[in-house]
């Protein structure tokens, strides 16, 4: 019966989800127009544009995790990372382009968390694209006003003596948090340690996983 009272349900009994076919927005249309013009006029090629998209998609939090793990295991590297985050990442061979990176370190007494209240600045040349919630108005406005409440909603409940440092990426710099190294990981290799470093732990909305 195609039009009975249950036609909003699929044969499996779940509601149909609408197709993701909304009309293009103004800026989506603009992007397509500019991209096609760049190709038509020989400024760029479709292959170059696809290669750039692939390069961005290939970046992931796993890259940042290797940087953090090295900082945990190599005291000199940690110093260089804190002094100049971009140079330290390049030294490890990551192609981070023009990224201007500042690394901030969580300790027993300090917990750092990153936000961009003005837009959604994120160190995507190291960590890949930002999670959707990072771009939400709620995260952006609440993290500067009630960071502890936001952190608790992420499951991060800080000890009473820990100071929270919020970093609002308002201009040219991007930020990565070096989470605290978990206890019980003495003697672990950088590769083993990197598996404990989550994306959220490098934003500051999470902690590194316990072993």
């Amino acid at each position: 019966m195609p039009h009975d009272q249950h036609d909003h349900l699929s044969p499996s009994g779940h509601p149909y989800r609408p197709d993701n076919d909304e009309p293009l927005s103004y800026w989506q249309t603009m992007e397509i127009a500019v991209r096609e013009l760049l190709i038509e006029k020989g400024v760029s090629t479709a292959a170059e544009i696809n290669a750039q998209i692939d390069a961005m998609d290939a970046r992931s939090p796993a890259d940042g995790a290797l940087v953090v793990a090295r900082a945990w295991t190599d005291a000199d590297f940690r110093k260089r990372l804190l002094a100049n985050g971009s140079d330290a990442c390049r030294e490890m061979g990551f192609d981070i382009g023009a990224l201007q990176l500042i690394a901030v370190e969580n300790t027993r007494d300090v917990h750092n968390v990153i936000v961009c209240t003005l837009c959604s600045c994120y160190p995507r040349n190291l960590l890949g694209l930002a999670p959707d919630w990072y771009k939400s108005r709620a995260y952006r406005s609440r993290t500067v006003k009630e960071p502890r409440k936001v952190l608790s909603e992420f499951g991060v409940n800080l000890a009473n003596g820990v100071q929270v440092r919020v970093h609002d990426s308002t201009a040219d710099m991007r930020y990565v948090v070096i989470p605290a190294r978990p206890d019980g990981t003495d003697g672990w290799s950088p590769e083993q340690l990197a598996a404990l470093v989550t994306r959220d732990s490098m934003i500051g909305t999470g902690l590194a996983k316990a072993p």
């Binding site: 209240t117 003005l118 500067v144 502890r148 409440k149 919020v166 609002d168 201009a171």
Partner: protein, 92 residues
Amino acid sequence: MTDLQHVRIKQMMPPGHIRTPAYLRGKTGWIERKLGPFGNPEQQAYGLKGDPLVLYRVRFTMAEIWGDTAERPEDTLDAEIFEHWLEPANAP
């Protein structure tokens, strides 16, 4: 300006593309570190090259920003502020 100097974010509301958050204007903090120079985004937003300006990371206490409604007064917030938005904290 030297390190650790106390500064105030200018209390002004010009139109245009401004990268000084409104919630920090008029607030007093201290220089955490000096960066740059970087092109002035207020000019770059309009296709101009942007005058090179020193960028500072300024640290504020939550008490300074939010007053009595601060979640934890001694927590801090750092933001990057261009030099033309800063004045000495004791300026009239």
